[in-house]
């Protein structure tokens, strides 16, 4: 047994394991932090957008999709509005 243990690679110390686990969880906590202000505004912004689009096009609630993405130091607000075919009234 002793000989086998000698050849087996030494396991990481528990402190090293703790550090690695913490680095992951802390990075995750921090990525959730920054955009929270904008996240809180999204539902209202989505309603307002729907209202504006509906002045011109018939669309459902689910056809406006929004999300915030972090890219380095800046945040990107992605808005996706799907228009149903032939929905735009050309007379207006």
């Amino acid at each position: 047994m002793r000989v086998l243990e000698f050849f087996r690679s030494k396991p990481d110390s528990t402190a090293t394991v703790a550090k690695e686990r913490l680095q992951i969880i802390v990075a995750h906590q921090r990525s959730n932090r920054g955009s929270s202000a904008l996240d809180a505004l999204l539902p209202k912004m989505q309603r307002d957008l729907l209202e504006v689009v509906r002045k011109y096009v018939e669309i459902d609630n689910e056809q406006v999709k929004m999300r915030v993405e972090k890219e380095g130091n800046c945040e990107v607000l992605e808005v996706n509005i799907t228009l149903p075919e032939g929905s735009v009234n050309k007379n207006e």
Binding site: S13, T14, A15, A18, K19, L22, Q23, V26, Q29, R33
Partner: protein, 268 residues
Amino acid sequence: MAKIIVVTSGKGGVGKTTTSAAFATGLALRGYQTVVIDFDVGLRNLDLVMGCERRVVYDFVNVINGEGSLNQALIKDRRVENLYILPASQTRDKDALTLKGVARVLEALRKRFEYIVCDSPAGIEHGAIMAMYFADEALIVTNPEVSSVRDSDRIIGMLSSKTRRAVQNMQPIKEYLLLTRYIDKRVDRGDMLSAKDVGEILAIPMLGIIPESPTVLQASNAGIPITLDKESDAGIAYLEVVARFLGEEPPEREKKSFFTRIFSSKLT
């Protein structure tokens, strides 16, 4: 201009009250007019650690509600000149501390004191937010242990979003890490996170490392702030924390050269 310092951590039992008592006493020993406030409404304990529990008549909430004056509630320490304690209330009403009330009391204290130390309750609820809201600087008390480090990170997030300085777009709160209950031997053996590890994870300047010491419990048994025990290694470490906080580089101690390496790289 008076400075408001919050002693906070998120996790309970890491040494916030011990630190508040030791740190405030250390500042007063250096001749600064200092008051330490217990924000743990319902679970007051700072008075016990400071050894003045039998002198509590009026408390923080009484002052906010106008049931007693600030002068009636402030307890003057009998050992150290310039040191006062404002005890917490034992009421069960968690919302007894209002933002307006706290602001009014702190404003009055600012006129009289140079340092106002706020001992935060554990958790991330109302009481903890009240304690940190008006702070200019923060001591984040952390044990070299996973749950404490994670909670400290959450608290750092709250300091930069839920406080007056954050809300009003002022200069952010100065944050300092204070590692407590540190055991060199276990770090050397690899079964405790090192100061360097915790410093890297939390990425804020390190103000000091307090070794695990039986004298801390002995001091709290007797109601004596640990900084008054000249023999205690933890007490000496806290005095060094005070010196570093005041912008001095305390004399180097033997065997601790790696501490100074961390401090000189982070603090300058």
